[in-house]
């Protein structure tokens, strides 16, 4: 039986992610865990996350999840970061007066700002709701129309240093990097587990993915 480990470091609603995975692939065993051995043995690894980055990073380090992530990424097995689990892969975040992150990708997490506007209209922060995602042809976008809407909830966004890393972007007052991809790692800002059909398709694509472009 194929296995996917959803790393549990006490932050966020892992129930939704694991239920969505079970829904798209009843034949995959979903393991919600922080146990390094279980993460090591899984065929695929997901790093989710909800909440404040300072608390997330503190728990990631306290539980040794940073080592598990490093090992999983180096192993070449398919790896998916979601929301704060995406942001945590970058170098640093402006949230909570500046937090150092895991630094697997060159780039930073920035605040949308309090004076965000689009077409003369003031924009609310957090960016909450369904927005259009423009994506490239990475295997995780298979059967997902370009411009499909995914569900977002966040006040901070990722900007990668090199455009080569960016697999999708989105505009909310400014253009930001919705997804990054490199080798066996893929990470998204939105919540695929809450994005109805297109979100489930992305999770299905992840479970089908061999970790190569």
């Amino acid at each position: 039986m194929a296995t996917v480990a959803v790393i549990d470091y006490g932050m966020g609603n892992l129930h939704s992610v694991s239920k969505a995975l079970e829904h798209v692939s009843p034949e995959t065993e979903v393991i919600v865990t922080a146990d390094p051995e279980k993460v090591r043995n899984a065929d695929r690894v997901i790093l989710p996350g909800v909440g404040a980055i300072r608390d997330c990073m503190a728990e990631i380090r306290r539980l040794g999840v940073d080592k598990e992530v490093e090992e999983a990424i180096a192993s070449g097995k398919p790896f998916l970061g979601i929301c704060v689990g995406y942001q945590a892969l970058m170098q640093s975040s402006e949230e909570n007066n500046g937090v150092e992150c895991l630094g697997h990708f060159d780039g930073h997490v920035k605040y949308f700002g309090d004076d965000l506007t689009e077409n003369g209209e003031r924009l609310k922060v957090p960016h909450m709701g369904w927005n259009e995602v423009q994506h490239d042809d990475h295997p995780l976008w298979a059967n997902i129309d370009n411009g499909s809407r995914f569900y977002f909830v966040h006040s901070y966004y990722v900007k990668a240093d090199q455009s080569a890393l960016v697999s999708a972007n989105c505009t909310y007052g400014l253009e930001f990097d919705v997804a990054i991809a490199r080798d066996n790692v893929f990470a998204v800002q939105f919540h695929p587990e809450k994005s109805s059909k297109v979100g489930l398709q992305l999770l299905q694509n992840f479970l089908n993915w061999d970790g190569k472009r």
């Binding site: 609603n13 939704s16 829904h23 909800v50 309090d114 709701g129 369904w130 909310y172 109805s196 489930l200």
Partner: protein, 257 residues
């Protein structure tokens, strides 16, 4: 090319069953909130809100199971409101699979509860529900007050100031039910919806009094709401969610189709 305005069907749930009835042509059991939520997801609803109107403890346990079931079968955001009074209540609902909880009277009786909840669980999952009614007379400057007990009890609290205070304390979203129109389906109170939406920097969901699709349009355009919540117009097949979205799009509003 912008964020879509959200359409949110709201279900009143009592002892694990939808009350006030929901009718779908091809649904076996229209009283099961999970079946109803699934149908709304298929129709393209952007979120679902469950309002728990159960009075008993046993009923509350039933609600937790309902939320668990919904969260394992429906993959759009779920907000649960009604009877959320403590951080334990919030934790229980989030663990069951709710994405957000809506706090109403508990915020009025103890505003610090909102701060505590936001610090513990993050603002993104804390919705503060506000029931507002116009209290100014014609000719006077517009003024709206917070009401509790289903709109029966005035509190003397100014609705716009209250919304600002809730956001300062950590509310990530405001669910505004405007009740000027005595429960008749005359639409949202656009004045208070706009006043609050312009006063705060978090999304505002307009609720109350929706009788037709123009009310949804007005809520977004004149009321400047970020999302519109409605119950009965969807439940009785007066309009479907896709019809509502198409109508809104025809009026120039961004929606997810």
């Amino acid at each position: 090319m912008a964020l879509a305005k959200r359409i949110i069907p709201c279900l009143d749930v009592e002892n694990g069953r939808v009350v006030k009835g929901v009718q779908f042509v091809d649904i076996r059991d229209a009283g099961d909130p999970v079946e109803v939520a699934k149908r709304y997801d298929e129709q393209g609803a952007d979120e679902i809100t469950f309002l728990d109107i159960t009075a008993t403890h046993e009923g509350r346990d039933t609600m937790v199971h309902t939320v668990e079931k919904m969260a394992s079968q429906v993959f759009i955001p779920l907000t649960v409101g009604g009877g959320i009074r403590t951080c334990d209540d919030i934790r229980t609902m989030l663990n069951a699979g709710a994405d957000k909880v809506s706090i109403n009277s508990a915020a009025v009786f103890n505003p610090e509860f909102v701060r505590e909840a936001a610090e513990r669980f993050g603002s993104q999952c804390i919705v503060v529900a506000i029931d507002a009614k116009k209290v100014s007379q014609p000719g006077e400057e517009d003024k709206w007050e917070i009401f509790t007990h289903g709109g029966r009890k005035p509190t003397g609290i100014d609705a716009v100031e209250w919304a600002k205070k809730m956001v300062e304390l950590g509310a990530g979203e405001i669910l505004l039910t405007s009740m000027d129109q005595d429960g008749v389906k005359n639409g949202y109170d656009l004045g208070v919806t706009r006043a609050i939406s312009e006063a705060v920097n978090v999304p505002v969901i307009a609720s109350g009094g929706v009788g037709n699709l123009d009310h949804l349009v007005e809520g977004c355009i004149e009321g400047k709401a970020d999302a519109v919540l409605a119950a009965s117009i969807f439940h009785f097949n007066e309009y479907t969610v896709p019809e509502a979205k198409q109508y809104m799009r025809d009026k120039g509003i961004e929606v997810r189709l």
